[in-house]
Amino acid sequence: MKINLLLYIIVAIQFVIAIGMWYVAVTAVSNYETIWTVLLSLNLILMSLLFLVYLKHEGVFARE
């Protein structure tokens, strides 16, 4: 897979999750904190995945 496509897919998922977080926050359903926090953590992990792809591309994790 092309690296750009992978990055776009990750960002798209993040965007969807962000809309989910906004929805949970404004409706304030019961247990909203737990749901919102799990979504936020997912988003953070996806963000770190973005950086991981970049670092891998730069050859940081390649064997010498």
């Binding site: 904190e33 737990t34 919102w36 926090t37 953070l44 770190s48 950086f51 670092l55 940081v60 994790f61």
Partner: protein
Amino acid sequence: MHMEEKNDYNLMDALEEDESPPGSYKISLRSVTRKEFRIDYWTGSFLMTCLMYLAISGMLLFYYFEQGNPYGSTQQIIDGVYFGRLLLTSHLFMAYAMVIIIYVHMFRNYFVGAYKGRFRWLQWILGVVLFILVYVEAVLGYLLSETYIGVSALHVMELLVEKSVIGRLMPALSNWIIALLIGNASTASTVGHLLALHVAIIGGLILLLAFLHFFLFEKSGPFNLSEKKGEETVKKYYPWYPINLIYTVFTSLIFIAIILIFSAFFMQVLPPAYGALLYGLTPFPDWYIMPVYKLMDLAGYGLTTGGVPLVTFFFISLLFIPFIDRYKSKGALERPMITVFGVFYIIALFIMGLWGYSQPGLTQTRLLTMAMWWGITMVSVFTVYAMRFAKKDLVKNEN
């Protein structure tokens, strides 16, 4: 020929420009080699992440906390403030993570002997001071909500100051320390003092020393254990910006995400308030103080001659490790007695902690105490020397 004596203790050298790696500035953020992108080289980076997260979440909590109504306002943060419970829980869990990672960071650098060499001895001493300050900060933090556990801990601290060597030899000093802690003993005054200590004084000192610690690290670089003499390889350096920065952000984000998931599923429940009617509840300290708490029972010689001097000895010996350790070589097994001390500390911490939870406040006999200390000593000496012997044997048979 006149040989210039090597002086590791001249701190003015820290202000001079580095020669290698290329491209670094006077106050530099170092470029790193590929070999250094290993998780055990980055324990300090996780601590910086903790520090930043705690500072930011602490500032947000500060808006809602009232020193005249500590328990009520903490309860209000949990029940009434939007996302308040998450904020409070993640502040707590990040602090727990910080204490755990401090131990990992400290013992990693202890066992590899990273406190040896130029600036590193001072880095180690600053690190131990930071360790003590973080513990003080953590304890102050849990005194703030005025639960029955917090207030009991405050009473114990007052008694320890009064009845220990400080109080017996320098009563004026002990009075001053207690006045620092509790003010005029009204709730508003006590919590106000504790809040100022937690937020401004100890917190500020931690920030200041952490950045000094980090500056010295940038000067001396990561401690490289596996670098062999005479083996000159061309190293590829990655610049601090953007590779190093992105790696730091990458590890920090995963770490924060893990802490947040924990906070989401184990939301904090506030213990009962001080003064509430309680039956059959023993006030337990938090887990990170449990070993010290049990030590006070276990010493069997009373507080002034047993527990307090032992804790003091623990910290003083840690503080002066760079000067105690006179072994020439690096590596854990090449410095056997130092490693024995480290193994002893680790085993003792776990045993005391677990024992504290199973039998809190139950005084042990001197015989049992002696048996336990000598037992741990034997185990740590034998394991380290057995591993040393095994390694020598392996090396001999390989050739």
